[in-house]
């Protein structure tokens, strides 16, 4: 079953499956997943822990490879791509946001944000200017020199979003972005992601337990025991 329609498909996945080996035992993390996503959509995936949400995001982001099926993101065949090609794909197309922010503790907010720019080979000065502008967009212009340890959870997640957005990716993949935040911070992060989605047209795919996100999602899916199903609108 193919879910989703639209004129230009950013993500095309069909028959997507992922099987892990745990010792001698096969663990099916995802089975026969079909997904079609257009540019600018805001998609939410809910489901219990261990249901396969992170696995799906890792596959869509080129962090991991499917064991079956076909997967194209922004025209790149992620099944056939080499490791080096996957690295370039991630750098140029994907912004990742994680539950625990995954900021480098030794670097301040600005340094964390400019990492993808340096990975792409941008100069030091230009990187810092772009990074500074991005931090301003997420409301942290005054916290640039602060290290993650000096920032609140909500602020750290804003830095992580700035880092994900700084290269203007076509897709933001967010894995439980509000999972480690209090409700006020969670609402502010959701608002920020929606704003970036609507203002900049970036496609967002968010895996979450937070049902509040269903209210703002363009489309929503449930992923249970490796099976991906679209939830009815509303």
């Amino acid at each position: 079953m193919t879910i989703g329609t639209g004129p230009s498909k950013l993500i095309e996945a069909s028959g997507l499956g992922k099987v892990y080996m745990r010792g001698n035992e096969e663990v099916i993390a995802l089975r026969d997943g079909h997904l079609s996503v257009s540019q600018g959509e805001f998609i939410v995936i809910i489901g219990p822990s261990g249901g396969g949400k992170s696995t799906l995001l890792h596959l869509l982001g080129g962090i991991d490879r499917p064991t079956q099926g076909e997967l194209h993101v922004n025209g790149v065949d992620l099944v056939a791509a080499s490791d080096a090609a996957l690295t370039r794909f991630r750098r140029d197309n994907i912004g990742f946001v994680f539950q625990f922010y995954n900021l480098l503790p030794s670097l301040n907010a600005l340094d964390n944000v400019i990492l993808p720019l340096l990975a792409r080979g941008l100069g030091w000065k230009a990187s810092r200017q772009l990074g500074s502008a991005m931090l301003e967009q997420v409301g942290l212009a005054h916290r640039q020199k602060h290290t993650p340890g000096q920032l609140s959870g909500g602020e750290q997640q804003r830095v992580a979003i700035a880092r994900a957005m700084v290269l203007e990716p076509c897709v933001i993949l967010a894995d439980e972005p509000t999972g480690d935040l209090d409700s006020a911070s969670a609402k502010s992060i959701i608002a920020l992601m929606l704003d970036l989605n609507q203002r900049l047209g970036v496609t967002c795919i968010v895996a979450t337990h937070n049902l509040d996100l269903l209210k703002v999602a363009g489309r929503a899916y449930q992923l249970v025991d490796g099976l991906l199903n679209m939830l009815p609108a509303g």
Partner: protein
């Protein structure tokens, strides 16, 4: 490059305690390597083989230390009578171990003219003894006791003046040489002399001369006859065990510096596998990550090596200046070759540690490390 240097600095500074511990652990490895190689070189120096000569030594039977030997004057004449065609010269040597200026030394007394001829001492500085209460000392002795030309040396309660420094290939122990007459004045004549030195004619076969001497009961009843180099080697404990030990030490020191550095580097990267994974997810290629990790590792390794080298230098110099009878410590040297070899190996194996540790990341999920 600016970015790599900046992030390396921030990273090392942020984890300053872990960085410090890494540097200390690497420095300990470096000190271990440098001390082991120095010790191995010292063993080689001390166990240097005496040159093969065709001279013979007579000592009292069953003595291991020449100092315990006591020989009558008539023995040398007897030896000359047994092989007159083979022995061109025979002379006595007085031999003692004494503590002089706090250092264990050998004191040898021999006729002045034999020092530079039969015994092949080379005068490297100053003059041969030219009058009473004068001695020459070996370079090793001068270094041990900080003696110079003109220094006064108290031996057995009598002051002597150092007139020259001599070099001998025989051994590295500290040795003081005085004339036979001075030795007799100092030690008396009641114990006779300790070593009879038989200089053979150029084409003589020392083994057959030795056999002829031992076949005569006047010699074999109370004395032993040795080939000079064999006895010297035996006395210096310069045997294959010492050389094998020094070889083993070099091997161990190389293993210490190579696997030690490799292991420390590899472990420090394994501890950071999640951060490395995150950087891969963000888009850093393996080569870019390697360049950052190599710079970081190089900074740690070079700092640790400098620290370890400095500690070794201070320790070795302290031992050379202050160790007393432990001659092995006196012979320790920190040579440019071993220092540079260690540095080269440390850098190579640090790089290898980074390269292999990052190579393991290829094909894995950067975040979970699973394949």
């Amino acid at each position: 490059m600016l970015a790599v240097g900046y992030f390396t600095f921030r990273d090392l500074l942020h984890d300053r305690w872990r960085s410090l511990l890494t540097i200390i652990s690497l420095a300990v490895i470096v000190v271990g390597y440098l001390l082991l190689t120095s010790l191995a070189q010292a063993l080689v120096t001390l166990s240097r083989q005496a040159q093969v000569t065709n001279n013979l030594l007579i000592l009292a039977a069953d003595t291991i230390d020449p100092m315990d030997s006591s020989i009558d004057e008539g023995v040398l004449q007897t030896a000359m009578e047994i092989a007159p065609d083979q022995i061109q010269l025979a002379f006595p040597i007085l031999f003692r171990h004494l503590t002089i200026d706090g250092q264990l030394m050998q004191v040898r007394s021999v006729a002045l003219e034999e020092m530079s001829t039969s015994l092949a001492l080379t005068l490297v500085q100053g003059n041969w003894p030219g009058g009473p209460r004068q001695v020459v000392v070996s370079e090793g002795a001068a270094e041990l006791a900080s003696w110079k030309i003109g220094s006064t040396v108290n031996i057995y309660g009598t002051d002597f003046q150092v007139t020259g420094l001599v070099r001998t290939e025989e051994n590295a122990f500290g040795c003081v040489w005085m004339t036979y007459t001075e030795g007799q004045h100092l030690f008396g004549t009641s114990r006779g002399f300790q070593v009879g030195y038989l200089s053979l004619v150029p084409l003589a076969d020392p083994e057959s001369v030795r056999a002829r001497l031992l076949a005569d009961p006047r010699i074999s009843a109370a004395y032993s006859v040795y080939l000079e180099h064999a006895f010297t080697n035996s006395y210096n404990q310069s045997n294959s065990n010492l050389l094998a030990l020094s070889g083993l030490m070099v091997l161990i020191s190389l293993l210490v510096v190579t696997f030690g550095i490799y292991n420390a580097t590899s472990l420090s990267l394994t501890e950071r596998s999640l951060e490395i994974g995150l950087l891969q997810v963000i888009g850093f290629t393996l080569n870019k990550l390697r360049s950052f990790l190599l710079v970081r590792t190089l900074v740690l390794t070079l700092t640790a090596y400098s620290l370890g080298w400095l500690i070794s230098l201070v320790f070795i110099n302290h031992q050379r200046l202050h160790a007393s009878v432990d001659l092995i410590f006196r012979a320790l040297r920190l040579t440019p070759f071993s220092s540079l070899l260690g540095l080269g190996l440390a850098v190579i194996f640090a790089f290898l540690g980074v390269w292999l540790a990052t190579r393991r990341l290829t094909g894995l999920n950067p975040l979970t490390g699973s394949d």
